[in-house]
Symmetry: C2
Subunit: 828 residues, 2 copies
Amino acid sequence: MGLFDILSPRAVASCILILSSLAQDVAAIPSAKSPWVRNAYAKKKMTDHVKRAVYGTHVTRSEPELCADSVATSIKAPKSNPWKHLADYETAAVVEWMFQQPDLNLTTSDEAGSWDNTIQLVEAMWPNKTDALAYIDGTAQPPVKYAHVVLNNRATEDAHYADIIVGPLPVDNATTKWEPLTFPWTKQNGGKVRNLDADTDILYGQWLFKIGAEIADITKDLWNATAMGMENDTLAIWGIDPLWQDDGKIIRWDTFWRTASGEIAGDGGTLMPLGLYFSSDVTGRDPSKWKIEGWLYNSIFYETTEAFKEAYWSEGFVKLPPNDEGLWTGTDHKGDVPARDTAHPPTMVAPAGNRFGVDHEEQYVEWMDFTFYIGFTRDVGMTLYDIRYKGQRLIYELGLQEALAHYAGNDPMNSGTAYLDTFYGFGPFAFELVKGYDCPAHAHYLNSTFYVSETSHTHVDSICLFEYVSDFPIQRHTTTDYVSVTKNTYFVVRYVSTVGNYDYTFTYSFFLDGSIAVEVRASGYIQSAYFANNEDYGYKIHDALSGSMHDHVLNFKADFDVLGTNNSVQFVSMVPVSKSYPWSKGKVRNTMAIERSFLENEDQGRFNWAPNSATQVIVVNEEEKNKYGEYRGYRVLPYTGAAHLTVKNSTNLANSCNWAGYDVQVSVRKDTEYKSAHPWNSQDVHDPPIDFDKYFDGENLRGEDLVLWLNLGMHHIPHSGDLPNTVMTTAHSGIQFMPSNYFEGDESRKTVNQVRINYADGHATNVVTFGQFDMKAAAKSEEGTCSKTCKLDFTPADPAHEKYMGDIVVRKFPFDPNNPYFETIGIS
Amino acid sequence: MGLFDILSPRAVASCILILSSLAQDVAAIPSAKSPWVRNAYAKKKMTDHVKRAVYGTHVTRSEPELCADSVATSIKAPKSNPWKHLADYETAAVVEWMFQQPDLNLTTSDEAGSWDNTIQLVEAMWPNKTDALAYIDGTAQPPVKYAHVVLNNRATEDAHYADIIVGPLPVDNATTKWEPLTFPWTKQNGGKVRNLDADTDILYGQWLFKIGAEIADITKDLWNATAMGMENDTLAIWGIDPLWQDDGKIIRWDTFWRTASGEIAGDGGTLMPLGLYFSSDVTGRDPSKWKIEGWLYNSIFYETTEAFKEAYWSEGFVKLPPNDEGLWTGTDHKGDVPARDTAHPPTMVAPAGNRFGVDHEEQYVEWMDFTFYIGFTRDVGMTLYDIRYKGQRLIYELGLQEALAHYAGNDPMNSGTAYLDTFYGFGPFAFELVKGYDCPAHAHYLNSTFYVSETSHTHVDSICLFEYVSDFPIQRHTTTDYVSVTKNTYFVVRYVSTVGNYDYTFTYSFFLDGSIAVEVRASGYIQSAYFANNEDYGYKIHDALSGSMHDHVLNFKADFDVLGTNNSVQFVSMVPVSKSYPWSKGKVRNTMAIERSFLENEDQGRFNWAPNSATQVIVVNEEEKNKYGEYRGYRVLPYTGAAHLTVKNSTNLANSCNWAGYDVQVSVRKDTEYKSAHPWNSQDVHDPPIDFDKYFDGENLRGEDLVLWLNLGMHHIPHSGDLPNTVMTTAHSGIQFMPSNYFEGDESRKTVNQVRINYADGHATNVVTFGQFDMKAAAKSEEGTCSKTCKLDFTPADPAHEKYMGDIVVRKFPFDPNNPYFETIGIS
C-alpha cells in the first residue's frame, strides 16, 4: 500500500502532476512513498520486446498468409498530420530550452519542492483551423509548430498554473520564444489559473494526518483503524472536489474511507466510506493558519473537534456500522458457473486480416470511403480530425471536451463532489487495452503518449482500430421471387480511460451508409456514499452503503464542415395538424405535417432534443442543394440515452460547467473559442479560464463555420447490480450522425458483401454474390497456391495476455531515449 | 407479373385470406392469376431434403467434433408448452369437424366464391393465464386445448369475420363444440367484425379496372400505359388503407402506380406513384351501386370523370412527369467497390458450437440462467412466454401486439394511409432467414407455421437463436496493479417479417447481467408519394418523388411477474433541488435529490418517458424488498429512440389505434384484456373490436398483476439514403429491461469468460482465466483425443445459400401430410 492508496481516487492525479515535490516531502511520511515515486528512482531495464513496442510503434504481428490481398495495409497519408504529438526529440529540445530561460525560474521535477516552479505539460500546440485548412486543403506549407506548455508556478504565494506557448519549432535559440497563451480562454488574465492543489503534500503530512491522529481514539473505537500516515494505516482520508471557493475562502470537506487491502482483486476503496466528515479552512499557503471548521456524524454537526469528542464519548452516542472489504468488493469470478459457460463463446475473427489502411507515422486511417487523422492529448485523450468521405470533409474536429460526474447527498462529501475530469486528464489514464476483451483480438492497436515530469509515457496498444460485423444486417428485403440482404460491417476506433474509479470506453464507429456514431460506456467502481440519512440520494446497496446518485455529462465538440465551412442548422419537425384539403370535401382531417426552420443565432443556440423525438437537427450548407432541391446535410440524433445535467446552477461548479445544461449547443467556430472547458476550470469555479456561457452572444448562425457542442450523459442511481462494477449493457450514451439527402442513394449498395438469392419451387435458382471473396472457391484450391491461407487461423481470436505490459516511460530531461523504463500508474 | 404485382403491397395479404374466391373470379381477368394461385393448382413435388426440414423440424446440422462438451444441446422442457401451435393432425381434425357443422355453412377455399363462408384461420387458442400458471407453476394438468378459428362469413349482405373457439381438443364428436369468441374484445357483439374487403376480387374486375379502362386515353397520354386488367398492363391501381368509414359510407381513394418490371432486382413498385387519384363510394356489396366521387391531379379536384377529362384535354393543362423504374429502384450492388471490400470481412464463429439448449418439441430455450417458451401466431409472429431467470419468472408474456405505419400528405393517398399491420399478419410473412446475413451462420434455426386456406404453411428456418459477443466488454476496470475485464456475450432470438414493402427485424436479446432488450429495425422499400405539392409532407428524393413522412409505432405487451404477480410500478426521479443542510452553515445549495412515487391507478396509467430521462420506471413487488430494504424490481427504459404517434385523434384510425398515443401504458392484466389491438380493427375504426381506451377505467395498479404496453417507434421522413431501401443503422427502436436491486450484485460475475491480468515492471505477472476453456491447451493436445476438435471450422461462417428454399405448404383439408409442396408468397 502506497500513498496513492490513501488519497482520493482522483486527487492522486494531481499528485502525479507535482511529482518532484512529492518525492521530497513524502519522505517525511513514514513508508508512504508511492509506487510511482519508488519506480522513478529505480528505473527498470527494458527488455527488447518492449523497446520494439515503443519505437516500432505499430506492433508488428506475424501476419497470416492469406488468399486475399487484404492484410492490414500500410498507407501514406496525403499530408503530414498537423495535429500530431511532438516527437521525443522535439519535446526534449523544448524542455531543455525552457530550463535555459532565467525568467521561467524552473526547477526539475526531481529537485523541486512545493515552492518551486515546474513544467506540468509539454504538448504540441494545436494549429488554428485557418492555417490547418490552408495546408490540408490547399498548397500552403504545414502550420508552423509550437509547443503548448503548462507551468506549475508554485514559487509564489499565489501559486498558479500558466499556459504558455514555446516556438517556433524546431528550437533555435535565435528565434524560439515563449509567450503566455491567452487567446483561447474567456478569462483574459495572462493565461494564469490559481492552483488550489499547490500544497497537496503538506496537506497530508501537516494537516489531514495530524487530524487523523488527533481523532485516532475515535477511529480506533469505531473501526479499529487509524489514518495517521503510518505504514499500518487502514484508513484513507479524502474529500470533495472541487473545494468550496466562496467568500474568498478555500474550504475542504474530507471523510474517512477503508483502504483496499490488496488481498482480493478489488480496487474497492470507493465502496468503503465510513460516515465521519470534517471541514477545514485551508485558505492560503501557510498551514499554520488552516483551521478545523467542524465535524459531521450521523447528520449531527459539531462545530469543533472538542465538541465532537465530547459527544462521542457521552452516553447514548449512536455508533453506526462500517463498510468492510469482502468478496462483494472484488471483481473476480464468483457464483455458480452457468450451464455451458466453460465452453468457448462465439468470437469474431478476421479471416482476411484487417481491411483498412493506417499510416502509423502520420496517425492517418482509411476504411472504405472514410479517412481521418488521429490526435492525442493529455486533457481528453484521442481526437479525430479531418473526417472525410470520398475525399470530402464532413467534420474538421470530433472529440471529447470535458466529462463531469456531479454527485448529491445529505452529507457534505457527496453533496460537494462534482468532478471535472480533464483536471486529471483522460490521456494519462488511457491504458493498454486488453485484446479480445476491450477490442476484438484481430484489432489493430496504436500507442499513445503523454508528458509528465520531464518524461514522456507511452501507453502501449491504447487505441484500437477494428472492423466488426453487427448481429443484424444493414439492409434486407424479401419478395415473392428473391431476397436481398447486406452485411452491416462497420469500423471502430476506441480508447479507454480509467479516471480513478471509473472506466470510460470511448467509441467512434463508421458505417457503410455514411453514418457515424459517438458512444461512451462506463464501468469500474462507483464512488459510493455512507448510508446514514442518504435515502433521498440513492439506494441502499450494502450493509452501510448508499449508491450515491450522480450525473455523468460528457461534452463533445463536433466541428462540422458539410460541403465547406459555411454551415447552418436546420430543424425539420413532425407536428400534428388539423387541416382540410381540396379533396376532403370541407372536412377537417387530423393528420401531421413537416415544419422547417433554421437556427438563426446564438441566442437560440442552446436547446434540448425535442419531446417524442419530433425534431430532426440537420447540419446543412444552404448553398448546396441536391438535384432535387433538398439541402445536402448530416443529421445529428441521439442514439442511446443522451442526457444533460440535472442540477441547475450547481453550487459546486458555478460557472465551470456552463457547457452541461443542454443537449445541443451551437456556436460560431472561432480560434478564440476552441474548447468548451479548460482543464483547470475546477480551480476557480466562479471565474474559470473558460466560461462557456460567454460563447453565446447572439452571433448569426446561418452560413457560418459552426461547432455543435453535444452532450452525452447518464443519470446514475447505482443499485445492487453496480456491485462490484457498473456494467456497460446499460451504462451507455451515444449520438449518431447520419446523412440526410447528402448522397444520391444508400451508400451501402457499393459493398460486395451482400447477397441476392432468387428462388422458386423450393430451391434457390440463383445466388448472386457480386464478386465478394469466395471462401469455398479458395478452399477448393487448397492444394494450390493458397494452401495455408484459406484455413481460418484461430490465433488472433486467442491473444497472448502474457504480453500485456503496462506503461513505458522515456526521460525527456535529461533526454534519455535509449533507456525507457516501466511505470503504470492508476488512481487506486 | 401476376395480379399481386398490381395490387397494393398490403392489400395482397387480404387476397391471400380470400384465396379461393380469388382463384375463381380472377379467371375473368385475362392472365392476371397470381403465382400463389397458379401454384395452388400445380403443387410441386417435394424433395427429400425439404421433407426433412419440415418433419425433422430442427435442421440437423453436421455437428463438428469439439473438445468441449458444448455442442448445441437438446434439452427437455420442465413442462409441455401451453402456448404451442396446434399439431398438423389437430388442425386437420378441427377443419374436418367444422366442415361437418351445418350451422357454419362452410365452403372450402378452393370452391368458395365471394358469397360463401370460408375458414380464415385455425390456431391454438391461448390459455387463460390462471390456467397456464396452475400448470407451469403448480401441479395442475395442462390447460384444456381449444382451437381459435376465424371464419370469413361472406354468404350474407353483412359480410363479416367471426372469431370462434372450437373444442375441447382432441376433436370428439360427442364433446367438441364451437362458440363465439367474445370475452377478449371490448366490443361485445358476438365476436363479429365487418369485412370491408369481402369483394376485393369484384373490386378489380368490376370496378377499378373498368375505371382504368375509362381513363385509358389519359393514362396512355401521360404514361404510355394502362391499368385495365390486361396482360400488358404496366400500371397498378391501389389506394388507402383503411378505407374511409364516415357517415355510414365506405369511401376509397386509389391512385396509379408503375409496376416493377422484374427485369432488375427491384421490388420497387412503391417507389413509382404517378400522381393521379380518384375516389369512389363502394358502400355495400352491389357494385352496380358504387360510384366515382371525384378525381385529383396536381392538387386540383374534379368532381366527375367528365370534368377531369375535359380539363385534361383543354389547352394549358399542366402535365407532370412520371416515376420510372431504373437502377435507382434496385437493391443489387452498384457503385465503386471501396478499397479492400472484396476481401472477406470479419465474421463471428462459434468454435465450441452453440452454448444453449433447445427443446424443439416444446419450443423451449435455455441460455445461461435464462429460460423461456416460444409461441408463434398469425397476427404477430413470435411471442416469448414464461421468461425466467434462475427458475424465477420475470415476464409471463412478451411480444408484439400491433404495428402501425401512419402516413400524411397533401394528397388523399398518403393522407389516408395508416396501416395496422396485424390485419395482414406478421406470421404469414416471417420468411426463411438468410444465414450469415439476417443472423450469424452459427445460429440455430427454428421453423414456424401458419394456416391459410385449409393448408398450413411452414416457414423453414424463420426464427434464429444465437449467441454473439459485442464489440465492447460488459465490465472492465484498470488499477495500478491489475486489469479486470469481462466479455459481453449475449443471446438473441429473432424473426423477420416482410409485410409488403417493409421488412421488420424483431430482436429479443438477453445479457449476462440479467438485462433484456427488445428491438425492432426496419428495412425494405419505403412507400413513397408523388412529389406534386407534397413539400410539407416529405423530402423530394427523386425526379418526381417525395419520401412520404410517416410514423411507425409498434406496441409490445410485457406482462411482468416480478417475484409473483402482485406488482406495482415505482417512479424514481432525479430532480434539481435548492436546500440547506445542518453542515451548510445556513447556505442554500443548488443540488439534486431523488423523488419516489407509485403509479396508483389506471387514470395515471398512460405516460411518456420523462424529459432528460429524469425518471426511472421500475416494476416491483411491494412485498419483496431485498435485505437492505430496497424493492427488488426490473426497470424499463428506452434503449434506442422509442417514440409514440405524432398524429392526435387520427381521422384515419379513430379508435382503432388508441394504444399508440403514449410511450408507456400500464393496466391491470385480465383475461378479458388480452391484446392491445384486434387484427381487424381497421375494418371498423370508429367501433373496433378492441378499443384500447376502454382498458383504462381507474382500477388500482398497486400490488396487482400488471401489463406494461410499451411503444417502440420511428418517425420517418425518408431521404435520398432510403433509396432503394431503408437502412437499419438508423431505422431502429428499442427498450431495455434491467434489474434494479433485483440481484445481490452484478450477475455477470458468474461467467468464467473474464480475465484478470496482474502486471508489474512491464510484464504480466499473473493471468487468471477462472477456468474458461483453454484453446491453447487444447491445441497442444492436438495429437491426442482432441485432434480435430480444436481447429476452428470455417464452415459455419460460410453458409450454403443454395439451400435456401422458401415456404412449405401442407394441405389440411383434405389432410395430406405426406405431400407437402412449395409456395413463397410475398406482398410485392
